[in-house]
Symmetry: D2
Subunit: 137 residues, 4 copies
């Protein structure tokens, strides 16, 4: 099953009422999703670069979208583990793009990875992997 | 060298102007720090529990404080890697306490761990490890 | 329930026939275990220090012992995620001691951490966290 | 600079005298390497599947090869952090293939990822990320 991108976006907005701060769904398919975050002052850390917690929150919502695109609009999947490597400084003033895809979706566990990069740049600014517990369906 | 807790707190507030949202320094010593976060609506996720990104942001600032308590008030240490395991649901309406300590502070790299728990409860809600690049001094 | 150390040791030897290479159980209790590895030539990497894979294998078996001490001698728990930070060079010619303890043991998931250090030295050479899937009992 | 695969293979064999146990270099290029491990009895765990430490050791050497293909045959790069997610059971009797590539190689730090799968199968059995300290050149 693949959830259409429009339904997925609507569900994310319901689930994360403050969530539009954490990105807009650009595209999604079976087990993957691409999101974009317009960087605002609240996302910056001293020195004017995008903060680590902002990148983690974006990775979190993007991979959640990738998981839901595969398992359906189940509200109760929870993150067990997140691992993130910060790779380079985001470009000031550019949106951050997150490309998330599932590596495996089992009956009770899901695992995926996310590449984050500044819009228009190829080199990633961060890479994250996450694992989820999926509730019984 | 150990940075007094008062100086550390002042420095954190300068560095993170929105940072008081991410906790108050309770105590600190040589290579460790304890912080508290009063949970507000902006920290919740659907279902009323504290969101993962909130816990990650608190872990991030608490371990940064622990690192600075050892190396001094150097503004340029950057996080390379964060790994977090989410363990149990935080208790609704309770502050989150973070206890952070460095496992190693070398010349160019620092590594530490953070235990997060709901105030008054012993079992941790999350555990994180982080690594930092320390600029030449 | 706590499994006596003698039963735990016997079970580990059955499960890991080559496993004595990966340490001897020194002590264990409810949700924790301490193991020791005599370092042999097969554990070294160029330069004469203990190899990363050796430290990972020791962390793996020590935390597995800690988990079993809590849940009983269940052969089917599987590792989902391992994260390890290498902190300092082990002392040549000294055994490696692993102290492992569970942070949480739920119905289907277990999470724990391991400190590895050279015998007689306080500073850890590595620190690992791991998560496990626990089969239905 | 890209190190030719033949030179890289020879260097790995010098560095890891027991290392042929941990795979044969199949191909490599600028910042990536592919290795194959013939699974022997010493790599199995109870139940007949490939052990976690075997997969970690293969990931370790494959990403080390990917790093060296970029920075040259420098013997002193050390692993700082390894994070691995175990995804599915390897196919019995099949070699394990590791595809490793660097995500970033900076002046002092390298970060990369590795996909491990059973030969002939598309779904990965594990995915790892690693960070390295690179000595001054």
């Amino acid at each position: 099953m693949t959830v259409p991108a429009e339904q997925l976006q609507e569900f994310l907005l319901q689930q994360f009422p403050q969530g539009d701060r954490f990105g807009t769904l650009l595209r999604s398919g079976d087990g993957w999703a691409e999101m974009s975050l317009e960087v605002g002052d609240e996302h910056l850390r001293p020195g004017g670069t995008v903060s680590g917690p902002t990148l983690m929150a974006l990775a979190d919502v993007a991979l959640y979208a990738a998981l839901l695109s595969r398992i359906g609009l189940v509200p109760l999947a929870v993150t067990n583990n997140l691992n993130i490597n910060f790779l380079s400084k985001p470009v000031a003033g550019q949106p951050i793009i997150a490309y998330a895809r599932m590596l495996r979706v089992g009956r009770t566990l899901g695992v995926g990875e996310v590449y984050l990069h500044s819009s228009g740049k190829e080199d990633p600014v961060a890479h994250a992997t996450m694992t989820y517990s999926i509730p019984s369906r």
